[in-house]
């Protein structure tokens, strides 16, 4: 079994990624979900669920925000709506939302997604015992740790194989606060503004930063690309792969999905040679937005290198 999960920015892109080979769409609205390419209103969401189901593709809706009292109070009604339009799964990162999901008894499965916090098999199995049908692994877990982890987990694990990696979420409007202080750059601090920061003495670095309903978000220097590492994940049985198009070009993202789908098909057929994967990876690099670098993140890190 394998599964390609991809984000969705609009209806046309949903059609395109389905054609490209996506098995599951991931989307939602900012009121409930984190760092989404588009905040879908309910009618739009319904249309995409119908489209997906017509094509035998599943839909996961993001309910993974860090909720305060005012917003947790709206989660029950939202989950009921999602169950009613036959969404296949929700993602949850706040245990309060799990409390509500189970109280409502909607029969709606959830994948646990708390960004950087999910780092061990025992934690994944903890959520499994609390009803999670899968869990999203933190990007900070290197391959060497995935090896024992993959043997110990009782539920499927989702690994991000392409896209922007969040490294910070603040409840404060950090860009707005800075703008207020300097009385400059005030106009826009959202994702479309395209702001990024560089670390001291490393002007070439590129950490995207924006603000939205959920606070301020900062992303890793390069986008993640595990295409040539897919055989290793495949061998471990970690085969639920997410592609995140948050910062990808809306049209080329579906082409990137198609490239990863080809890699998946090669692995499925047992014909994935290093050369073939290198060629596919070259295509990913070609499709990648010029201003955004690619690397394989923490994948090759020796766990002992991290202090």
């Amino acid at each position: 079994m394998s599964e390609l999960v991809t984000t969705v920015a609009d209806y046309a892109q949903a059609e395109a990624v389905i054609t490209a080979g996506a098995d599951r769409l991931y989307l939602g609205e900012d009121e409930f979900g984190l760092r989404l390419p588009h905040s879908f209103q309910r009618a739009e969401l319904n249309e995409i669920v119908e489209l997906a189901h017509q094509n035998n593709v599943k839909v996961t809706v993001a309910v993974n925000a860090i909720f305060h009292n005012d917003r947790i109070a709206m989660v029950g009604e939202y989950l009921r709506f999602l169950a009613q339009i036959k969404v296949d799964e929700v993602s949850i990162g706040d245990p309060g939302a799990i409390n509500i999901l189970q109280r409502e008894q909607l029969g709606l499965p959830y994948i646990y997604d708390a960004a950087d916090l999910v780092t061990s098999s025992r934690q994944i199995n903890f959520w499994g015992k609390h009803g999670a049908t899968a869990a999203v692994l933190a990007h900070e877990v290197p391959y060497q740790e995935m090896v024992p982890l993959s043997k110990n987990v009782a539920i499927p694990v989702e690994i991000t194989v392409y896209g922007a990696i969040v490294i910070h979420q603040s409840g404060r409007p950090l860009l707005q606060n800075y703008s207020n202080f300097v009385q400059e750059h005030l106009a826009q601090t959202d994702r479309q503004r395209g702001l990024f920061i560089a670390t001291p003495h490393h002007e070439e670095t590129h950490y995207s930063i924006y603000e939205d309903r959920n606070g301020t978000h900062i992303f890793a220097n390069n986008d993640l690309d595990l295409l040539t590492d897919l055989p290793k994940l495949w061998a471990l049985g970690l085969r639920r792969w997410k592609l995140d198009g948050l910062f990808a070009d809306v049209t080329t993202f579906s082409q990137i999905v198609a490239v990863f789908a080809q890699a998946r098909d090669l692995l499925l057929a047992g014909t994935a040679t290093p050369e073939a994967l290198a060629e596919l990876d070259r295509q990913v690099h070609e499709l990648q937005p010029a201003a955004r670098g690619l690397d394989n993140g923490f994948f090759d890190l020796d766990p002992d290198e991290v202090k």
């Binding site: 309060g96 409390n99 950087d116 900070e140 404060r172 670390t199």
Partner: protein, 416 residues
């Protein structure tokens, strides 16, 4: 009319056995410490199990509690031995562990039965459903995320009876605690396993890319016209002026940050908050903030102070931008070993250089204070000296007002 109200706990940090004793002597109802493993302050002086036992005994004799912070987010290789760790913590007489990672919570509950578990602020609990989830798991208490406001705590209190602990003083993460791996990515140090490099306090260059253009640096300028780079550095928190709000909202434990901080800091802050809470709870109707408490906190402040998220989303004044306000710097110069009421001689063990002509300040538990100028000074051979330059040097000098063993002495630093 308000009568006496339930006294919430004042919870102080104790990086070492010495600080544990000091915090309790200075009024803390509970302290939190770190063990040799599973804690987030790898550089704080952590406690062995034997030191935990001694510390817990001391605390219990003084009607206080000791909690062990074991709040890392574990990776695969950190899991072995966790059960044994928690059992030894329990058997040392520790009152509760503060845990963030659900796998470690489960281990503590199932493998060390009887050990109470508190959810760490690292888990970012921000609503009552989350509090109820963890209570149902068997947790005694939840330490709230620092993003929660007073009004939100009041509302939580109406929906849950799990104990609520909230930070009232000290340094703050700029992001949701636990949801920040800047340190992992920028410094290869795991923020969630005790390695945080405080990258949020760096100065960053800010850029955009105009349509079809090259990247462009966005330079900002402060009110003084000087270049001001982008930063995410939070000022510290001080809720001393809002004790009634915290108590009335239903907070069970008022937490002071700072396991890495000095004895001077721990004694001063524990003293101020325990005095304020005690006075408020004894007679809420006539309670008044003593401006001396605020002054006292400024003496150990490392950054400017704010109320965090308690009264709204923090704006630019709650971050460190521009020219820093000049903070008064006080040095911890000694500890009182003895006082002779007949000769009016105080014997002091030196902690920092001081001498004749310096204005010094004695302070002790229950907010006892005495200021004076040093007019004479003698070493332990009764030889007259000008200054006490040696660490741990024992000296004596004239002090007109009685002070007590265990009282501390501070002086305004000459070069601040």
């Amino acid at each position: 009319m308000l009568t006496a109200v339930k006294h919430p706990e004042v919870l102080a940090p104790a990086g070492t056995p010495e600080k544990l004793k000091v915090a309790i002597d200075y009024g803390a109802d509970a302290v939190y410490i770190g063990g040799d493993a599973y804690g987030l302050r790898s550089r704080a002086g952590n406690f062995s199990f034997e030191e935990m036992r001694v510390g817990a005994d001391y605390a219990h004799q003084h009607n206080a509690k000791v909690y062990v912070a074991a709040n890392i987010v574990a990776h695969e290789q950190n899991l072995a031995g966790a059960g044994s760790f928690y059992r030894q913590v329990r058997d040392a007489g520790i009152d509760a562990v503060i845990v963030s990672d659900p796998s470690l919570i489960e281990t503590a509950i199932t493998e060390a039965p009887g050990l109470k578990v508190h959810l760490s602020t690292q888990a970012s609990a921000t609503n009552y459903e989350t509090l109820n989830f963890w209570q149902h798991e068997g947790l005694e208490r939840v330490v709230l995320a620092r993003e929660v406001g007073i009004a939100e705590i009041k509302e939580m209190r109406q929906h849950t009876d799990v104990q609520i602990e909230a930070f009232v003083h000290g340094a703050m993460c700029i992001g949701y605690s636990g949801r920040c791996v800047l340190s992992n990515h920028l410094s290869l140090r795991d923020a969630n396993r005790g390695g945080c490099a405080q990258n949020c306090r760096w100065k960053y260059d800010l850029f955009d890319i105009p349509d079809l253009g090259q990247k462009r640096e966005l330079l900002g300028h402060g009110p003084d016209g000087k270049t001001e780079k982008f930063s995410m550095s939070a000022v510290d928190m001080a809720m001393i002026e809002h004790i009634p709000d915290l108590v009335e909202a239903g907070v069970d434990s008022l937490k002071i940050e700072g396991r890495m901080k000095t004895v001077h800091y721990v004694s001063t802050v524990a003293n101020v908050y325990s005095t304020a809470v005690r006075q408020y709870c004894a007679d809420p109707a006539h309670y008044q903030l003593d401006p001396a408490w605020v002054d006292e906190l400024w003496k150990v402040a490392q950054r400017e102070l704010s109320t965090g998220f308690y009264y709204g989303t923090p704006d630019e004044d709650f971050q460190l931008f521009g020219k820093r306000r000049r903070l008064s710097h006080y040095a911890f110069v000694g500890e009182v070993l003895a006082y002779d009421a007949v000769t009016k001689q105080v014997t002091v063990q030196q902690r920092n250089n001081f001498g004749i002509g310096d204005e010094i300040e004695f302070y002790g538990p229950n907010f006892a204070h005495h200021k004076q100028v040093v007019t004479d000074l003698f070493d332990d051979q009764d030889q007259a000296i000008e200054r006490a330059p040696h660490a741990m040097q024992v000296v004596h000098f004239t002090c007109a007002q009685p002070v007590h063993p265990g009282d501390f002495v501070r002086a305004q630093a000459q070069h601040s």
